[in-house]
Symmetry: C2
Subunit: 229 residues, 2 copies
């Protein structure tokens, strides 16, 4: 087939990933020191260029696996950033993705290898290019996502306490919540199962562990809800 588009401009297309993790206290993002020019050594999101034989989702997954060692990560396309001079080296459009991972599960070795670091979103250093804008965009999106879809599965360990789940929402929304109203609301969503086990790390008394019910969780993830807290 004749290429009808031969006179059109081609551009570089990158993906940059905002990787969120949660450490029981703060919402964090994974940043690396950039290993090449321009802006070598500065803090940056993880990213890479789209290859012509893969989709953008493929590219994002590839980047995610490269820097965290994790596949099967929850990931969503965010937005394209296309200011003409956003990357001084060449005309590059970047597709931002955000990912939610269980911070305990990523590969520590890779973190070292790439001089990566987890930063609380409120204490992150300023980033190269338009990456700060991307991060803000991602936080905004995560906030709305947390109000319309369940998110705990992605960011918490398999078994978790209600307090942990509440702290996660508090971190995402940067607010404090009433624990009684919170637990009632979560129970009414009918996506968690209370276990008999207790977690003793956080208190003398110990607190009951919960687990998500995968099928109910997925159902809610698909149909959505409106979580007002």
């Amino acid at each position: 087939m004749i290429n009808n588009y031969s006179s059109e401009d081609k551009v570089l297309l990158a993906v940059d990933c905002i990787i969120f993790g949660f450490d029981e206290e703060d919402l964090k993002i994974l940043l690396i020191r950039r290993g090449f020019e321009p802006e070598k050594g500065k803090w940056s999101l993880v990213g890479g260029f789209l290859k012509s034989e893969e989709t953008l989702d493929d590219a994002a997954r590839r980047v995610l696996e490269r820097y965290t060692g994790l596949s099967d990560v929850y990931m969503e396309q965010l937005a394209a950033f296309s200011e003409v001079d956003r990357d001084p080296a060449d005309r590059t459009i970047s597709m931002a993705y955000y990912a939610l991972i269980n911070i305990k599960e990523h590969n520590e070795k890779l973190i070292k290898q790439f001089s990566a670091n987890w930063f609380s979103v409120s204490q992150a250093p300023s980033l190269i290019f338009d990456h700060d804008k991307m991060v803000h965009f991602a936080i905004r999106r995560l906030r709305t996502r947390a109000t319309t879809r369940p998110i705990g599965f992605e960011l918490l360990p398999e078994k978790f306490t209600m307090r942990q789940l509440q702290k996660l929402y508090e971190a995402i929304w940067d607010t404090t919540l009433d624990k009684r109203n919170f637990i009632n609301k979560i129970r009414s969503l009918d996506i968690v199962v209370k276990l008999d086990e207790k977690d003793k790390k956080s208190s003398r008394k110990g607190s009951f562990l919960y687990q998500f019910d995968p099928s109910k969780y997925d159902k809610k993830a698909a149909e959505g809800f409106m979580l007002k807290l």
Copy 2:
């Protein structure tokens, strides 16, 4: 500066626009018969390729102006579509945008010139490539947008009746609403001003015209709300 990215693949980047209009009854989209191969003559979204000296928003605005004659159109970036074979002619990634326009204001001549046509979203023909997917995506986005931000300004004439506004929401959400509850809700948002004029077209009695209060509207557009109806 040395180009550090010289070994990376470049791709064609297109924008495709879902242009929504409202004709007092139905939510419509503007489609054109494609003027070149591949898929020449088939129904398609309006689109074009990104030029290297413009941003994606610029490109979308350019496409919008070319096909509707309108500048200053409300427009939002939607999502990138990047299946490897989505366009059989060449590897092309498309950034979908959606736009909301006042259907009365677009340029009729251009419509003819491009063999364009307005279709009710429920009766649109099937489109080339992955354009159907884009349209569905856009409708979904428009629905959530209508629940979190005001939208009337973009799709209605300057002066409108409550019934028109209600029909707009009914069309977007594909539902019916109670007029008393609707009007109370809209009034509580405090973004419209009731005028003394009446519109006599729709009934003997005539119905009062309203206008958006630009500053209040913009404020609500920026801060958002949660519209449950």
